[in-house]
């Protein structure tokens, strides 16, 4: 489904990704771990099409298409979904209006008729229950005044609503207490499907207790330096990144 070859990317003049390779097939769940500054979020932003990042070389194909040739909105309509690490607050734009515009943009792209307001409302209420968000959230501004946990649940709710082919979750577990983590994990597990892939970016092994990945990758200085099964995450939890020859968080930041 997704094939990344020798990807190099920079933001402003800072080189962040340095030859990243990754293959993800339909039905798989991949986790990428790594210290701060290793390029995890950059990878997710580049895949989603944030123009603040420049791809300097390498290629990315998504279901056979050159992903890097597609505009941000085309990527989304083709089925790429990014759950943001820091979802933006947009006062004045209601969640409901935003989500309906989004769903209908996807439907239009696939030649399906718009969903009317009543149908949409019903669907939106269902998925908001799935992530334990009160439907009154739908009427509020996008992420406006939401707590950290509510924002993350709102992201997962959108993924459930939009049913993407590839869901990229950028630290969707950060800032969640254990109950919220379970809710989010249940939501993500509900997304698992044979025709869908999930790419989770996380700092902590904790999330992987609830969403068991098929593959775990360690990202360091813009490259994947080790890949393995779920047991790799446990090993990282026990030993830190040092045993891989990677500077740990503190060292990387100082």
């Amino acid at each position: 489904m997704l094939s990344i070859k020798n990807l190099h990317a920079c933001v402003e003049d800072k080189q962040i990704l340095n030859g990243l390779n990754l293959e993800i097939k339909a039905g798989e769940v991949h986790a990428i771990m790594g210290p701060n500054g290793s390029g995890k979020s950059t990878l997710s932003q580049v895949l989603a099409g944030n123009e603040a990042f420049d791809v300097t070389s390498g290629e990315v194909t998504f279901n056979g298409d050159n992903l890097l040739d597609l505009a941000t909105e085309e990527r989304a309509r083709e089925g790429i979904f990014l759950a943001f690490q820091y979802p933006v607050e947009i006062p004045g734009v209601s969640n409901l209006q935003f989500l309906r515009t989004s769903v209908n943009a996807m439907r239009k792209h696939h030649g399906v008729e718009d969903m009317n307001a009543a149908e949409f409302m019903k669907l939106a209420k269902e998925v908001s229950k799935q992530v334990d968000l009160d439907p009154s959230f739908l009427k509020r501004g996008v992420n406006e005044g939401f707590s950290g946990g509510e924002k993350k649940r709102n992201e997962v709710m959108q993924a459930l609503l939009l049913q993407p082919k590839l869901a990229i979750l950028d630290e969707t577990d950060s800032g969640l207490d254990i109950d919220a983590l379970k809710v989010v994990a249940d939501g993500v597990n509900a997304l698992r499907a044979p025709d869908r892939a999930i790419l989770m970016i996380t700092h902590y092994q904790r999330l992987l207790d609830y969403i068991v990945p098929d593959y775990v990758h360690v990202l360091s200085e813009g490259k994947i330096i080790k890949s393995g099964g779920p047991e790799l995450a446990l090993e990282l939890e026990a030993k830190g990144y040092g045993w891989l020859g990677v500077k740990d968080d503190v060292a990387a930041n100082h």
Partner: protein, 433 residues
């Protein structure tokens, strides 16, 4: 340096004499007082940002045809009075005879009502002696009106539907028009007035308007001002409001049209417990220039005022907001709130915003805020990453800026017109290359 120019005397020559004596006298006095009106320059404080956009030529001095008939006017959901080039067209108007409501054109006024109209005009805020160094071109209206409307509501009269006053300007050749509307709302009466300024033709014209509201105790008046004039119209309007005890005035102004628009809105809270709420939405594009000057005077104690203006500027257009709050010494317990937020859509667009507070009482609440910003790139990315086109994302974000104000407009038909105008604006401003 170029010498300051004065308004050519041709601008002070009315075309007709078909008015009651009291109004003819008043008009003559106004023209005499203005005999050497100096045109504003960039050193004129209240025209600082707009003077260079003012392009009055001598061929604009002549009155636009006084006998032009109204072109088909859209069906309105309420009562309608049509003025063409400032002249009332009874044959195109449609309003019922209601107890307590009187709608008369100036030309038909009997002696008593003519005296009342002259009195309202002589007390008109737009004709108050200008502050030194300021020029109010709307004063021209008093020297040039050829007709007008006097709307009176007897105490307790409630108009069940909005009254639309359609101001049509025919710009098939150069000239100017001077519509004038006076509203005397008796105690506890209620009225929603929609002033709709539109034009046809594409010659340079000036529309110079006066609207004066007088609200007796407990009157409740909503004024909506919609501006969809063509790109050759220079619009200069003044709205004056005098409010007595416990009266309520709210104004909603939505502007799209005209190449230059200047609106002076002056509300005086003269009786205790009066409230006014002024909302304004301005969108500009191309080389349009919009200048809103507002003054709220708290004269009596215990009055509330709330003012919210939003400007959205695109291309090389320019919007000015000058909001003045003046709290007199006796106006204790005044509560005044003013907010002006601006959105720049391009690097060539310009905003000038200036809050002015003048406070002489010591026990008042007075807040003001002004911001200038751009659409947030991260917000655009967030929305586009969910499949929205960049245009739709920008429209959502821009509408978020003004939704609240558009939603507050209490007449559905005006909200619809506003949405149509905004969509046309977005089509231009957010063209996808």
């Amino acid at each position: 340096m170029k010498p300051v120019s004065t308004l050519s005397s041709a601008f002070l020559q009315p075309a007709g004499q078909a008015l009651p004596t009291a109004l003819l006298t008043l008009r003559f006095d106004r023209a005499s007082a203005l005999a050497d009106l100096i045109l504003p320059t960039r050193r004129t404080e209240n025209w600082k940002y707009s003077a260079k956009h003012l392009k009055l030529t001598d061929d604009m001095a002549s009155a636009l045809p006084l006998n032009a008939s109204a072109e088909a006017v859209a069906d309105n959901s309420g009562y309608t009075v049509v003025l063409v080039n400032g002249i009332v067209r009874p044959e195109s108007s449609n309003y019922p005879m209601l107890d307590g409501l009187s709608i008369q054109r100036f030309r038909d006024l009997g002696e008593d009502d003519a005296n009342l109209a002259a009195d309202l005009l002589s007390k008109s805020i737009s004709d108050q002696p200008a502050k030194s160094g300021s020029v109010n071109l709307s004063q021209l209206n008093g020297a040039r009106f050829e007709d007008g409307l006097l709307i009176q509501l007897k105490p307790g009269t409630v108009l069940d539907q909005p009254l639309f006053v359609i101001h049509h300007t025919t710009a098939s050749h150069s000239g100017s028009a001077y519509p004038c509307i006076l509203i005397a709302a008796g105690s506890n009466s209620q009225l929603t007035l929609v002033e709709d300024y539109l034009s046809s033709g594409d010659c340079p014209v000036m529309v110079n308007t006066t609207t004066e509201f007088s609200l007796d105790d407990g009157a409740n008046v909503t004024s909506i001002r919609l501006n969809t004039e063509g790109q050759t119209v220079q619009h200069m309007g003044t709205t004056g409001v005098r409010q007595q005890r416990s009266s309520r005035f709210q104004s909603h102004s939505v502007g799209f049209g005209g190449i230059l628009r200047r609106h002076d809105l002056h509300a005086r809270l003269e009786g205790e417990g009066a409230e006014c709420k002024l909302n304004g939405v301005v969108v500009t594009q191309g080389t349009q220039h919009y200048d809103n000057h507002t003054t709220i005077e708290h004269v009596a104690a215990n009055c509330n005022s709330e003012e919210t203006y939003r400007n959205i500027v695109a291309d090389k257009s320019h919007a000015v907001f000058n909001g003045r709050i003046h709290i007199h010494q006796d106006a204790q317990k005044s509560n005044a709130n003013m907010s002006n937020k601006n959105l720049l859509l391009t690097s060539g667009a310009e905003i000038d915003t200036k809050p002015e507070l003048e406070i002489y009482a010591d026990d008042v609440k007075c807040a003001h805020g002004a911001t200038i910003g751009q659409l947030d790139k991260e917000s655009i990315f967030y929305l586009v990453s969910r499949g929205l086109s960049p245009r739709d994302a920008k429209v959502l974000l821009t509408m978020a800026f003004i939704n609240e104000l558009v939603d507050q407009i209490p007449v559905e038909q005006v909200r619809d017109t506003a949405h149509i105008g905004l969509n046309q604006f977005f089509d231009q401003a957010f063209q996808e290359v």
